[in-house]
Subunit: 363 residues, 4 copies
Amino acid sequence: MNKKPGGLYYGEYLQLDKVLGAQQLESEKRGAPAHDEMLFIIVHQAYEIWFKQILYEIGSIIEMFNDHVVDDRQMGRMVARLERVHKIQRLLNSQIDVLETMTPLDFLEFRDLLIPASGFQSVQFKELEIALGLKRDMRLPVDREFIYSRLSEADRGKMQVAESKPSLLEVTEKWLERLPFLDFEGFDFWDAYEKSVALMLSKDRKIIEDNPTLPEVVREHQLNELEATRTRFSAILDEKKFEELRSNGEFRFSHSAMLAAIFINLYRDQPMLQLPHRYLTCLVEVDELFTTWRSRHAMMVHRMLGAKIGTGGSSGHDYLNRTAQKNRVFLDLFNLPTFLIPRSDLPTLPENVIDSMRFRFGV
Amino acid sequence: MNKKPGGLYYGEYLQLDKVLGAQQLESEKRGAPAHDEMLFIIVHQAYEIWFKQILYEIGSIIEMFNDHVVDDRQMGRMVARLERVHKIQRLLNSQIDVLETMTPLDFLEFRDLLIPASGFQSVQFKELEIALGLKRDMRLPVDREFIYSRLSEADRGKMQVAESKPSLLEVTEKWLERLPFLDFEGFDFWDAYEKSVALMLSKDRKIIEDNPTLPEVVREHQLNELEATRTRFSAILDEKKFEELRSNGEFRFSHSAMLAAIFINLYRDQPMLQLPHRYLTCLVEVDELFTTWRSRHAMMVHRMLGAKIGTGGSSGHDYLNRTAQKNRVFLDLFNLPTFLIPRSDLPTLPENVIDSMRFRFGV
Amino acid sequence: MNKKPGGLYYGEYLQLDKVLGAQQLESEKRGAPAHDEMLFIIVHQAYEIWFKQILYEIGSIIEMFNDHVVDDRQMGRMVARLERVHKIQRLLNSQIDVLETMTPLDFLEFRDLLIPASGFQSVQFKELEIALGLKRDMRLPVDREFIYSRLSEADRGKMQVAESKPSLLEVTEKWLERLPFLDFEGFDFWDAYEKSVALMLSKDRKIIEDNPTLPEVVREHQLNELEATRTRFSAILDEKKFEELRSNGEFRFSHSAMLAAIFINLYRDQPMLQLPHRYLTCLVEVDELFTTWRSRHAMMVHRMLGAKIGTGGSSGHDYLNRTAQKNRVFLDLFNLPTFLIPRSDLPTLPENVIDSMRFRFGV
Amino acid sequence: MNKKPGGLYYGEYLQLDKVLGAQQLESEKRGAPAHDEMLFIIVHQAYEIWFKQILYEIGSIIEMFNDHVVDDRQMGRMVARLERVHKIQRLLNSQIDVLETMTPLDFLEFRDLLIPASGFQSVQFKELEIALGLKRDMRLPVDREFIYSRLSEADRGKMQVAESKPSLLEVTEKWLERLPFLDFEGFDFWDAYEKSVALMLSKDRKIIEDNPTLPEVVREHQLNELEATRTRFSAILDEKKFEELRSNGEFRFSHSAMLAAIFINLYRDQPMLQLPHRYLTCLVEVDELFTTWRSRHAMMVHRMLGAKIGTGGSSGHDYLNRTAQKNRVFLDLFNLPTFLIPRSDLPTLPENVIDSMRFRFGV
């Protein structure tokens, strides 16, 4: 009678009947089982349960920003959750190693049975891109089209729901804008910064001009690049110019959010800025790891198919490779190193400013 | 009306309704959701779907051995599948990195709700150990007891079914015993090998005796060790001694299987032995990676609980650490390097033997 | 008197006085030590000793091809050495993780002191590219110019010596051309292959035409792609067309080398082709891992400098990113999956052909 | 005349003539070059330059503690440097993958030529153990003996110099003892903690007693374990008992350092404790990664030699395996999870205490 030990049971808690009962090979249904289709199914299911976890973590961070003013203790938790997301993303990248053990000859054995299903139909992955801050009009045209043509009505509905919510990019921007430490009574930080920048750029020009090993054509190219950098700097220091570049898509963050992000990066050693800096770095890393995932995924599709088409009727390799860079969300943070200067050229902050960024203990 | 595009649909093919609908937090049921319980569930579900894949691959290899004589083309496939298993095992090890992002304070928040469920109740993991070749009487007493006390009747039944099937160890042993290349007309390989071994051992003795940096106590210890090695070698060359040591549990493979394994290792460069050698190496790696998984798992439990007890009512750390070495299956292959000698001391095989291990092409 | 124990001594064997005495910080010479310059030096020295090892392995493989006909036993050794190279390349990639622990602010502290030195001046890395098969005229113009303008006379000499030797690409091509298994008396393999290809391509066309989820513009694009694939296939089957494409740079391998490579890929399960297939796959992986290294390196430079210039006076990020794809050597093998067909559509080889690719044993 | 471009030159800056000129094969000297000896030399040189870097980082951290009171900004830097050390340690672990590509047959080809040199003679690795806090009398007898018998006089001198300096363990202990936040006027933290602990332990007892799946023998064992845990807790709360256990070697930290470490772990979310917590966790990770390195190193030696002796005349496998656990330094921190309790059972700190651990900004 006594069928199992009392209380919670491992297999029931994890609902393993559902999870382990969800692998049905199309090739088996047709009477010609292809051994490797099992791997194909399981690797994609593993992707999906991890996507669920990432969505869960990202959602919880967005909520922490939304609910109320961000308290210092929450900042630590946000960073911890983003670092967890990174670890999961590394796992997703390693899963490609597993999928690559399938040879093209074996994949071609069941590829035709899966048509027209396609990884582009992963609703959760699209929700994830949206939750991070990817807007529909930032997508490649083909990527955008697929949302309409490839998804079921129900799934298109989910896209809309996702798009109606605040994204991680948006709540981060608002939080940056609210950061208080850019008003220093009697000290014009940005003026001092501008002088340091000017110094650095003129040094850079000298480096290029004096280098005897630079072919002339390279020198010219570099001087042009330097001018472009100078323009970017002047945009940082001039809101109007900034807005111009922003309307051309060169920046996504607002001017004040961008200034706050730069300040945090420059003074990251101050106790109060250590976690905010870590948080911003974590966002870049999320983008980075998805970029790697898309590129490696593209490479894997290439190994399977070469120039042949995928199950969705288009070249998966090409598509993935193009979205790899295109679908980055935190590009402003990725490009931020442009605006950093040597530690020894950093404007010295007034004592009271430095002080206000320390701990209360002992005051 | 048209709810979704015609044909196979990604989410339906993968049965995502089941897979993504199987995460129910105990803490939520009790009205006090613990954020990290989701991760706990998902990481264990990910383990289980990968266990399913490993069981599927190992099962397919056992079948290839069983069905008929192993043909050379299948050997390549077996190796490929074991290498796939390794990649999955590396993934399992990386999943520990993800679980370790949970802090002890967060785990303690829901640990009590899971009692008495326990990872020891993973039926698939036990099936896996059995499929590899772990016998019930080789398990630690506590490990053995748990099969009876912790599993439901249905799951105990599954254990018995698994135990009634041939294991990878067994089919490998039979295959080794069948290997033909140990009969060389007119050439006594093992005699030549014995001479090489004797030479090597006497060199080793000299190394120990002449080393001026060895403290006396170490020297003595080493000389004793050398004698133990000599004993092991003589067992290899004397079936009766071998069977004695085998009955004491020092070997699991039969004498002829062991000889074949040594021969394959010594002459691995011969075309015909390259894949068999790779196959044997793959088995050691499977053991190795599970040993790593158990040790890292133990370490992770220690990080969560220190000396406190786990959800199953016992110290998971201690248990896992002890099974890590204990539950190795291919120990004979792991210890095989003892029986290798320098390439330049290898007995030269007769030309016709060498020849028979090459490809037919051009004969 | 007795200064050290007799015989070989660890530190002397490894010449640690030289190796550990070769780190002199420029910043220290100038009296303002920058802590992180030590890491910068050591990580680059670690790169260089590993480059030495890779050059040593690649050189030994080229020699094996050159000296005499490749014997089956050597094929195993070549594969083992390439797999060792992969492991070293993975190490090189991981070293970027270490270098990335340096922050931009810390790097800028000593960047100016290093001008105009540059990683482009790594002679060994260029020797490596050349040993693999990169020709000077395949380099980006700027990459080519640097060999003249940035290297010392002595180092330019080394470039020429390296360029005068046979490369891995060349010896591989010659070996492929020599492969015998493309002449089958009375069986026209390529005719059978052509029929299978035609079948597959017409199926692919149907997949594209019938897919209801494809937007019209995508469908058209895909049909064009399919035509391009068909053209590539017809080039494989028609030497004249092949040579045309080859003269446009679409192929580097000769026609017969390419056919051999395709055949090996299609019939990789045959015992005699298993190692050749593994060897070819290893070459693609070498390219792949250097591509990853260059991309990750580029990314790391971007993290340090953003759009600012590097120590060599040019944007390292941009340069590295462009050479990442450009400097691939085994592109023909990378693109080979295009020419694969489902296992079940493979032309059945005559019994005697199959037989000749097995082992002699038992004949 | 102009031999090289003006200014700093890559190869000279890195002193590549020294670094790349330090590989001389013993086997070549004897006229019988063993291909794999090059790898053996280079992998050990790579170890040594990385050891130099780790020593450099650890030394810089010890100095930061010594020079003056630790300021919050330095804590961030210390953590960053330890995280760099981790990355290097991961690299050291990956280098084992490379060394493992050498087969036993190939190693045995030159092993005898290296006698009696041994990896135990790595002065830097011993200096590293000493810098972390390993005392000579904590070493295994054989490990201790080797310092005298195997090292040259000069190198024994280096050991003594290293041992005369403060270790990372010691400066960390002193810093913990100085931590101020254990005096709360009018609030007895440890009294509240004791009550929470008592509650948790009685819950744990109930878990063990009520679990129907526990075999009687396991139950008894667990109850004994629980008593041992209770003893440890009471030692934490009673300085006299603590000192007793400490004199038996159960603790290395002083009582007040231990209390501070526990407090930091319990209240790690407080802004002021986030970095100290991260710092302590980093120390455990350093130990952890060296433990992994020693175990994997032992495993690799086993793969090479089995039960045969190493170049130093003793079983490297055995030695390394035993030092793996024995030479851990921060065992107190490793065992600290024992003393953690569920977040919801944490004593609520008084408002003013909480407040003093926040940032000054806005006060």
